[in-house]
Symmetry: C2
Subunit: 462 residues, 2 copies
């Protein structure tokens, strides 16, 4: 049972031409979604404070923080982009493992590709291939220990993500099989991230930390810094220590025949998934009937129990609290026609008209309603009663967001950070990413064309 070596051999020897077109397209969709999330949160307090702590300590400023004009070294870029892309909890989800796959992997290899572009640029095709292999690595390792590992309290996006980052970075560095074994071993010994941090700024840091640690693992392996031979499956390895269950076949069976990135999904709304059917239904009714806030007398929901358990907050006071209120989410969806970050600003949560409708939203648990389903009954002031049954919510595997949906999400997220012309160009770059001669171009395309660096390097004594 030589799991680590089998996986390493696959990562270093798989051919880009053998990735099916549909898988490659899912890679581009993941990339698009990741760029949108990273740019969208690039002004958040978490990244401002993190950058304030680290900016002066940067090495060669080869790499980009998406959505910002400051340049930093590749470790900092990996950390920052991993962090921003997870800050809104709006990133992609591999539902089988609840891993957010793109953050750890793309943050590591985009930084690396930017540095490599100084000498030998990485093509978009090779970059996408490395990304897909990285996602395959982290999701398979995640599957091998899920759900026990996550239930124990590990943030699986971080703990599995470090392997994905190491694998993808190692692939771009052209590690040989033995070096890739070491890279995975050094990733195993840096796997970390606990759920106790949820609700604090340390949580979005996790994909960034995984990206940075995975990148380090690959760089060390490239110089033959040895590590465990069986970092994943060994007696004192990742699986034995960080999980009570381990299914090695989940890692090694069917490598190269199935692709976990095909099971990736994207959130249409910037809140927990149990509210999504409510928002989906409200937006559909709003658009079909051209409804305004004041047209509506009341909204009645029949829901899965988790909806009230997780998001039953009646009187949210802040944007963040609004994400835990299905009532607010319905009202905001009627007002704005969307469920993105805009629906969860403090101003919208405190808007008196939104509050007025929010207080007339009722939710009752009904047996037989699944997590991604909901019955919505809307009573209008003119007496009409509208009904909508959401059987599969938008963004689920059964009803994925279309490419156009993803573009709309992209535009909403980057609004106010990138100008419209640049936004459209960046979307174009994402869709045509596989044809780029230099993958690092996506980074420069995501730097706002106007404005100045917000953090200045202070003068220092020598």
């Amino acid at each position: 049972m030589d799991v680590t070596r089998t996986l390493a051999k696959f990562i270093v020897s798989h051919k880009a031409a053998d990735v099916p077109q549909a898988v490659r397209h899912e890679g581009a969709r993941s990339l698009l979604n990741w760029v949108a999330c990273a740019v969208g949160a690039s002004r958040h307090q978490t990244v401002k404070r993190t950058l304030a702590a680290l900016y002066d300590l940067s090495g060669p400023r080869d790499a980009t923080i998406l959505g910002r004009r400051e340049r930093v070294d590749i470790f900092q870029a990996a950390l920052m982009n991993g962090t921003t892309s997870h800050t809104f909890d709006f990133d992609d989800t591999h539902m089988k493992t609840v891993i957010h796959p793109s953050g750890p992997v793309l943050s590591a290899i985009l930084a690396l590709a930017e540095r490599q572009s100084l000498r030998t640029p990485v093509s978009g095709r090779d970059f996408l291939h490395a990304f897909i292999l990285g996602v395959e690595t982290e999701c398979r390792i995640g599957l091998s220990v899920f759900p026990h590992h996550y239930d124990a309290g590990w943030h699986i996006t971080a703990t599995a993500g470090v392997f994905g980052a190491a694998a993808a970075a190692g692939r771009l560095l052209k590690l040989n099989e033995q070096q890739m074994v070491w890279a995975l071993g050094t990733a195993a010994t840096q796997a970390c991230g606990i759920r106790e941090t949820f609700g604090s700024m340390a949580k979005p840091l996790h994909p960034g930390i995984a990206a940075r640690n995975g990148l380090l693992s690959a760089l060390l392996a490239k110089k033959n810094v040895t590590s465990a031979e069986q970092g994943i499956e060994g007696r004192r390895g990742f699986a034995a220590i960080l999980s009570t269950k381990f299914d090695p076949d989940a890692i090694t069976a069917g490598l190269g025949r199935t692709w976990e990135i095909s099971a990736n999904s994207y959130k249409p709304y910037a809140c927990g998934v149990v509210i999504h059917p409510a928002i989906d239904g409200c937006i559909q009714l709003r658009n079909e009937h051209k409804l305004k806030l004041d047209d509506i007398e009341r909204i009645d929901l029949k829901v899965h129990p988790l909806v009230l358990e997780l998001t039953g907050r009646r009187t949210p006071k802040s944007g963040l609290e609004g994400k835990f209120s299905v009532f607010h989410s319905c009202a905001a969806a009627i007002l704005l026609g969307e469920g993105g970050e805009a629906a969860y600003s403090d101003a919208i949560v405190r808007n008196p008209r939104v509050i007025a409708l929010r207080d007339r939203v009722q939710a009752k648990v009904q047996a037989g309603v699944a997590e991604d389903q909901m019955h919505i009954t809307m009573t209008l002031k003119d007496g009409r009663v509208l009904k909508k049954y959401i059987e599969h919510v938008i963004g689920s595997v059964a009803r994925p967001m279309s490419d156009a949906d993803l573009e709309a999400k992209f535009r909403a997220l980057v609004k106010g950070i990138l100008p419209p012309v640049q936004t459209e160009k960046l979307i174009e770059v994402c869709w045509n990413f596989g044809k780029l001669k230099n993958a690092a171009q996506i980074a420069s395309a995501a730097v706002p064309v106007r404005g100045k660096p917000k953090v200045k390097t202070p003068a220092r004594k020598k």
Copy 2:
């Protein structure tokens, strides 16, 4: 049970004047031993390869790799010095937890002190105080989960060490209580290091990784990057996830009244502790009777069972294998009069005269002989029979290495790297460390005065 906050409050509010003199002296002894180990291994392949991977990526070159002339940024210095100090497995040991306490803590704060010395130097007294608080933090956290945590496969030096590094660095950064809570939370979510890596270069990296991660935790907290409030004791916190046992009192009881650094010990010989009584006894007989290799007909040992189980290798082929041979260790001790790294070079292990005596060393298990005890009978060619009973081996808590012993170990380790005059000066700096106006001076005192940087920055395209 607010463990993290109680600990944080202690770390930020304890007064340097309240550290007893004996505790402070133990701090200086730990410092001396750490510097010796770090300088001694500064030419090792592990650090050469690690440096080759990272040197060009360094940020502001504010910090020192002890024993080398290259300068690197504070994260790299924390990583490198943590690594070198553990490379020979010759560093200090807190026997109650098997934590090697100095590596994670001193590597983090020496780098930080070097950077701070550019603006506001840290005094030796404050540095020593932060170090002692860091050791207190990591050893108490270690005690709260020992032995279950270590037995599960975690390398406790790394997983507990990150807290020590965060605490000490946070103290030097003058974090307030809330920030220290966050620093410990961010340390908790970066706790990592698995024993599967033992026997590879990734193992000595562990204290370095802990130092780097702890330093990052403190720097982020200083800028109010929030984290878990109960990183240690929370439901999804360090103890719950990384251990099956947790004794919170081990962390909070008697803070400021007892000092774990007082239980620190130092290895006299560069190999596993079970061989130490054999080397101790052989050196004593050698010196008492002025013995040479060829004077000895045979050596008979009565030993604890672990001696043969762990170090029963009859025909070691390399220096590293020699460390697992009690037979080689006796022969080398007779030849050299010491059990340092010199006794475990490939050349000594392959020396025909050493091999000749090695093959005439016999070891038998005897009931009632403890791990730190041994009966040694030496039969000389002239017919004399010499006996030595080691009741407590040198380096044990019952028979600690004297200050002079530590100095001798220091000289042996740095030989060939630092010239003799500089060596004596550096020892002097360690003993008088508490009086230094600028703690960073110890770093410059440990840079070889001759020679050039071994790794050059290659010219890079812009």
